[in-house]
């Protein structure tokens, strides 16, 4: 089964080359879009390969990661603008809060941290981690390894790291599969973060188990992702906004309606807060409190888990 790494979340900054050649492929695939209430097509069921969802489409599991990579190649170039437009700039507040609440960096009398940012493509979270470690904890030795399925996003991240003068021994970029994290040894990471990326992973339980594997005992798993909005009237407005405005803005700003249609569908498909917290627990991580904290009425949430000490 394809194990190509999965893409990071949309709400990360930084565009890379806009690969127009990808868009027609996505568009063609969306031509067979079936409504959210329809069941998987007979064709998928007749073949023996397991299927999964790609937004509201049903696709073979092995193809999903390629399609996800394709989506992010085409959105990367207008990322920054679209993120700000879609969330009215609030994504910056979410990410700032996420990093602050994790407080990366050496504790007094402690060791510098080794941080793994998965689906971290363009370095949004990684740079915030380094800044926080240095400015709040006076720590210039904490390292961040930034991984992503999409090499374009990583290249953009590398460019930004150089532009902003981050030391190459503090931050590195690598193509990796969130489901396996092949090149990362067991028990080696103090802090595992994934920001707006896990909803794109084909097999989320696998990614959670991989997180558990690479974390040191006592290490922290932290996930920032879109979640379910409550109360219901607010959710109705949110759904309307998601499915109406966001794909239209995608067309107007990024010239790519389909990628943003996929993104809002993938948000809708992601399990609710409590269910995802249960999945984290099932992977062998210990939930912190009820497992999650909601942000902005539940539009986004932060889940935290701790790898138990043996």
């Amino acid at each position: 089964m394809s194990a190509r790494p999965l893409s990071r979340g949309l709400l990360s900054a930084a565009p890379s080359k806009h690969l127009r050649s990808v868009v027609p492929r996505v568009a063609a695939s969306h031509s067979t879009l079936v409504g959210p209430n329809s069941s998987p097509s007979k064709d998928d069921r007749s073949s023996s390969e397991p299927v999964t969802h790609f937004g509201f489409q049903t696709v073979k599991e092995s193809l999903k990661s390629t399609r996800v990579a394709g989506v992010f190649s085409s959105v990367a170039s207008s990322y920054d603008t679209m993120n700000d437009v879609m969330s009215f700039g609030i994504h910056r507040l979410w990410k700032d809060h996420f990093v602050r609440s994790l407080n990366p960096g050496r504790r007094p009398g402690g060791q510098p941290m080794s941080i793994l940012d998965v689906a971290g493509g363009t370095g949004d979270i990684a740079f915030r981690m380094l800044d926080h470690s240095e400015k709040v904890n006076g720590d210039r030795e904490t390292t961040v390894l930034c991984t992503d399925i999409n090499a374009d996003m990583l290249r953009e991240g590398e460019k930004r790291a150089i532009q902003n003068g981050y030391d190459s021994n503090r931050i590195s970029f690598r193509v990796e599969n969130a489901e396996t994290l092949e090149s990362i040894p067991d028990n080696s990471v103090d802090l595992y973060t994934i920001s707006f990326g896990i909803r794109n992973v084909t097999r989320i339980p696998m990614a959670l188990r991989a997180a558990r594997r690479v974390l040191k005992p006592g290490g922290v798993f932290a996930c920032l992702e879109f979640s379910k909005v409550s109360p219901a009237p607010l959710d109705a407005i949110y759904q309307q906004y998601s499915f109406s405005i966001i794909p239209l803005m995608g067309q107007l700003v990024a010239g790519d309606r389909d990628s943003y249609q996929y993104l809002v569908e993938s948000i809708k498909r992601f399990p609710p807060q409590s269910e995802f917290a249960r999945m984290i627990k099932d992977a062998g991580l210990v939930n912190v409190g009820k497992g999650y904290k909601e942000l902005t009425f539940g539009i986004a949430s932060i889940w935290k888990g701790v790898k138990p000490l043996e």
Binding site: A28, S31, F243
Partner: protein, 262 residues
Amino acid sequence: MNSLVLRPVIRRTGLARDLPKVAFTSQFVPFTSLSRPPPNYEGHVPLTIPERGFLAVGSAVMSLLSPRRADLIAALGEATATPYFIYRLRDAMLLSPTGRRILKDRPRINSTTMSMGKLRELPDGTVGKEYVAWLDKEGVSPDTRSQVRYIDDPECAYVMQRYRECHDFYHALTGLPIMVEGEVALKAFEFANTLIPMTGLSMFAVARLKPKERRRILTTYFPWAIRNGLQAKEVMNIYWEEELETDVKELRKRIGLEKPPE
């Protein structure tokens, strides 16, 4: 439950001369963006009326700000084509035998259906040669046109697609120059001839021209374009694939176009 999409029923009232009189009633069952009906053709996205308005306004503003975004101009065309205008155009095509054949065959213009190499070998002064010379001068291929997505009726979607793909032929036909004034003047011609709202809205692009260009366009090209657009036959009814070896001057005479301005 999936709702029905706009299904216009066209009733033509009597014989039309210049502008076909069109009256239509439509079975329109409203739907929301959360329960869109299934697409009518590949790539079709049914839009609600507020979405259509948003797309129209947004693409109008943004294409004025960044004119390179051809996809936005295309989206503007599609968002403003209904109600009425695209149906009128389709009916104008139905009124002519060639137009009816085009609607039946639904020919597409792209690099596979139009062999650029063969066109380049045609003698100078033929439609095909002028067309390929224009494309080469601009450095574009016929594949750069985006697909129609926001028009609900499949036949009208084809009409819009055909308009988009034939645009380069109109350059060859009218002989308007390559400069940006020529492009805007061609839009004026298209508006007078096809009544597609986006072509009319493109007139706002004159605001972006330099004063000298603006003067030239207003005094020389616009009057020619509008006069000829109104008096000429519907250019949408030209079966370009059959006219590739026709002499351009002869085609102009057949359509009722004057000599292009200098």
